[in-house]
């Protein structure tokens, strides 16, 4: 969903991701690809929007996964045009293979990799630091402190990439991606490069023999780039000296720098020197060690791994992660940084700490943080109910998507990474088979995740004859990350670009699956029946069976009949069955009356819960009001 941008002359208030997108378009990038993932998801749709507005000829496309997206962009760079691939941090795990190879090439067109990190984490299965990956691949990395700086870095990252023939990484973290800030808008910096692929096997074919040349060359590039970072990038790497004699030096990168600057200002401290590093790899070592030599003690603040710290020849003299002064996990929120800085500067961390009165009030009022839940009316809730009720004894591997929240309905037992629902289905089957036992397995996966990495596992399961049921929860969108298109949707990002829908049923049959049934997700009676049938089929035939639950995501605001419901207090026996296995924000339990009731603030009248109550206490009401 794109929004209107508000411009006053050449400034606009943009989300950090929109600022990065604007930089990508203004840089004259010609091929931009991505696979969505929080906190990076808004970048590519914004690239498409700005490209439309500025009439750029660029291609803007979702790949079905990060590896696909990355390789499309990489080949574009081989032809000499600028390209860019965008993903979240765990996306780079999927694209790690081409990324590691890419580092060895002497690239032609500038290539930028944007990997968004999620310290916290807020929406991820790991808290990994992509800068570490840059270090691993020996690739230069920019670490922006704000959205506006991130935009500026895009230009330099492209220039650097072309100057040294190396892929560059821009590593924003969630607070940069999702900051909102005024940003300067410019025009496209025109460039006359056009795609011209020159056959040069020694350059573009990564044979072991070429690695013998490429690896030492890569090492030389790293040192040359380090020198450039020492001397030419003072807009990103600079010292904010103490006005008085310095009592502490802080080396900070990314958002931690911004936080520290606001904090020192708020505290009125003029006796702390800060060295901002915007290019943590390769670390401008001379600059850092010279700064350190001038400070009585030095603290390193960076998210989330000790990437700068680890590049120091000797880190035993500093305060940082190696000696536990900075916590080894979690986001460096202002409160965390305050608790590190305050003792070093001999002051209190300030108000905002835990207060016994407030704590007691929260306990009295039973106020706890709200956990994420599937939306009211979400088709996944109905599908999980069917699956769980059909085979209560089944193992339920699941996957990455909104439906991971099926864990609230006790219908999700294991989640690892995208596509693992299918391969875990195989693994659970095999472990039981080898032990001479049997247990039903029903895996759940979403439409986007199915195309992302579900297909190889499915082909493998057909080939090896694994008995399990794969339930594909097709809500016609990539919901978790905000509703992006995917092959089952078929639409594309740029105006006038036409895509083609890829048929899930056909894809499954093409992999050799012989049981493929599709049903309306809201129909829980039918759902239970078909899941039971699919499992029988799978175990008898020794092959995976596929059930496709279809119903559009609520975020797409589908037209559907409105079935207002009420709970009949006379019939409700307070068993909490609906709370435990249906788990809808619109259906809550009153601990005083010991009855369920409909919370009209959230209920969207989907009517599914009518079929859920074993005592018939939830009923559809005809008239308005409940």
């Amino acid at each position: 969903m794109m929004e209107v941008f508000h411009t006053v002359s050449t400034k606009a208030i943009l989300l950090g991701n929109e600022a990065i997108a604007r930089g990508i378009v203004e840089s004259g990038c010609l091929v931009a690809t991505a696979y969505p993932g929080t906190p990076s998801s808004e970048i590519l749709p914004a690239v498409a929007k700005f490209a439309d507005e500025l009439a750029s000829p660029m291609a803007v496309e979702w790949g079905v996964n990060e590896k696909v997206a990355f390789e499309m962009a990489l080949a574009a760079s081989f032809t000499g045009v600028r390209s860019c691939a965008v993903m979240k941090q765990v996306g780079l795990n999927v694209a790690a293979d081409p990324f590691m190879s890419a580092a060895h090439f002497d690239l032609k067109g500038g290539m930028l990799l944007v990997t968004a990190d999620d310290p916290g984490p807020h929406s991820s299965q790991t808290e990994q630091d992509s800068r570490y990956f840059a270090m691993f691949a020996k690739v230069p990395c920019f670490d922006p402190a704000t959205g506006a700086e991130a935009k500026e870095m895009v230009f330099d990252a492209f220039d650097l990439s072309e100057r040294f023939g190396i892929i560059t990484m821009l590593r924003p973290s969630v607070r940069v991606n999702h900051c909102r800030q005024s940003v300067d808008l410019g025009e496209i910096r025109t460039r006359d490069e056009e795609a011209k692929f020159v056959k040069e096997p020694s350059r573009w074919v990564c044979l072991p023999a070429s690695v013998k040349v490429n690896h030492p060359r890569l090492n030389r590039k790293v040192e040359d780039i380090r020198t450039a970072f020492e001397t030419e990038f003072s807009k990103y790497n600079y010292e904010v000296p103490a006005k008085k004699e310095s009592v502490l030096g802080i080396v900070a990168s990314g958002v931690s720098f911004s936080v520290v600057m606001d904090m020192l200002k708020g505290w009125g401290r003029e006796d702390v020197s800060v060295l901002k590093i915007g290019t943590p790899h390769p670390l401008p070592l001379k600059m850092v060690t010279e700064f350190m030599a001038r400070q009585p003690k030095v603290l390193f603040l960076e998210e989330t791994y000790p990437v700068m710290e680890l590049q120091l020849p000797d880190r035993t003299g500093i305060l940082g992660r190696w000696n536990g002064v900075v916590p080894g996990a979690g986001e460096l929120l202002p409160e965390v940084i305050a608790s590190i800085l305050a003792p070093l500067l001999g002051r209190e961390a300030g108000p905002g700490g835990e207060d016994p009165l407030l704590k007691q009030a929260l306990e009295d009022l039973k106020v706890t943080p709200r956990r994420p839940m599937l939306c009211p009316g979400c088709p996944h809730r109905a599908s999980f109910f069917s699956i769980r009720q059909a085979l209560p004894n089944a193992v339920n591997p699941s996957d990455i998507g909104c439906y991971t929240l099926g864990v609230n309905q006790k219908a999700v037992d294991a989640v690892v990474d995208m596509g693992a629902s299918v391969t875990m289905g195989s693994g659970f089957y095999l472990a039981h088979k080898a032990s001479g036992t049997e247990r039903p397995v029903v895996s759940t996966i979403g439409d986007s995740t199915f195309f992302h990495m579900g297909l190889p596992g499915l082909a493998s399961a057909v080939y090896n004859r694994h008995s399990f049921v794969l339930a594909i929860l097709d809500n016609s969108t990539t919901a978790m990350t905000g509703g992006q298109a995917n092959p089952s949707v078929g639409t594309k990002l740029r105006k006038g670009d036409e895509g083609r829908k890829v048929d899930i049923e056909g894809a499954c049959r093409g992999c050799g699956v012989t049981f493929v049934k599709t049903l309306e997700a809201y129909d829980v009676r039918k759902g239970k029946e078909v899941i039971a049938e699919a499992w029988e089929y799978a175990r008898e035939r020794r092959e995976p069976a596929v059930v496709i639950f279809r119903h559009p995501c609520m975020l797409l605001r589908p037209e559907q009949s409105s079935i207002p419901v009420r709970v009949d207090p006379g019939k409700c026996i307070g068993c909490k069955f609906c709370i435990n296995f249906f788990n809808c924000p619109g259906l809550v339990f009153n601990e005083e009356t010991k009855k369920a009731f409909i919370d009209e603030r959230f209920c969207v009248s989907c009517g599914v819960c009518v079929s859920v109550c074993p005592h018939g206490a939830i009923e559809a009401v005809q008239e308005e009001g409940r």
């Binding site: 209107v4 006053v8 998801s41 807020h122 704000t146 720098f257 911004s258 009165l357």
Partner: protein, 183 residues
């Protein structure tokens, strides 16, 4: 001026940062804020930060917010630690009794926190046919009327108008007024 906006994913709290951003931009003021997108948006607790003035970091440090705008009273109470001493809570309430809790009252008093409450759900039920998606505009009106910020009604109205689809123009104006007068 530092704002913290809290609520439950799906309540539309991001809109408020956009309104504040637009106002700052029109005033030619510097502004920076932080939002929540992704997993937590699915019905979980969400917190947005917004700072107008000479700031570099998008995050408000606990104990420093001038205004806490809460779309949900539970989230509002849970996030009171964000407020500075003497700060203000503008809150949508659905259960007044909570604000009679003696521990809460004492905490508010001790920290000099002022509470401005609006019965958002009741108002929207009565005047907007129970369409709770208007909560964000209603609360913008209430916050404006509470006098805890320097936001002028017209400024907020103009921002809301520009930021929402034309078909909602009349309804938004009505709801904004409703929130403004409710205070």
């Amino acid at each position: 001026m530092q704002y913290v906006i809290v609520g439950i994913g799906g309540q539309g709290i991001l809109f408020t940062s956009k309104v504040l951003g637009k106002i700052a931009l029109d005033r030619g003021a510097e502004a920076i804020g932080s939002e929540v997108h992704g997993m937590a948006q699915r019905g979980g607790s969400v917190v947005s930060h917004f700072k107008i003035g000479d700031y570099q970091s998008p995050l408000v440090q606990a104990g420093e917010a001038d205004v806490l705008l809460a779309f949900d009273q539970g989230e509002g109470i849970r996030n009171l630690h964000f407020l500075r001493d003497g700060g203000s809570l503008v809150v949508n309430i659905h259960d007044e009794k909570a604000f009679e809790n003696p521990n809460l009252l004492e905490y508010l008093k001790k920290r000099g926190i002022k509470v401005h409450s609006v019965k958002g759900y009741d108002l929207l039920r009565e005047h907007m046919g129970g369409n709770f998606l208007f909560l964000n505009v209603l609360l913008a009106g209430a916050m404006c009327a509470s006098g805890v910020t320097d936001l002028a009604f017209d400024e907020v109205a103009a921002a809301v108008k520009e930021l929402s689809p034309a078909k909602f123009e009349d309804a938004n104006r009505k709801v904004l007024q409703l929130g403004y007068e409710a205070h």
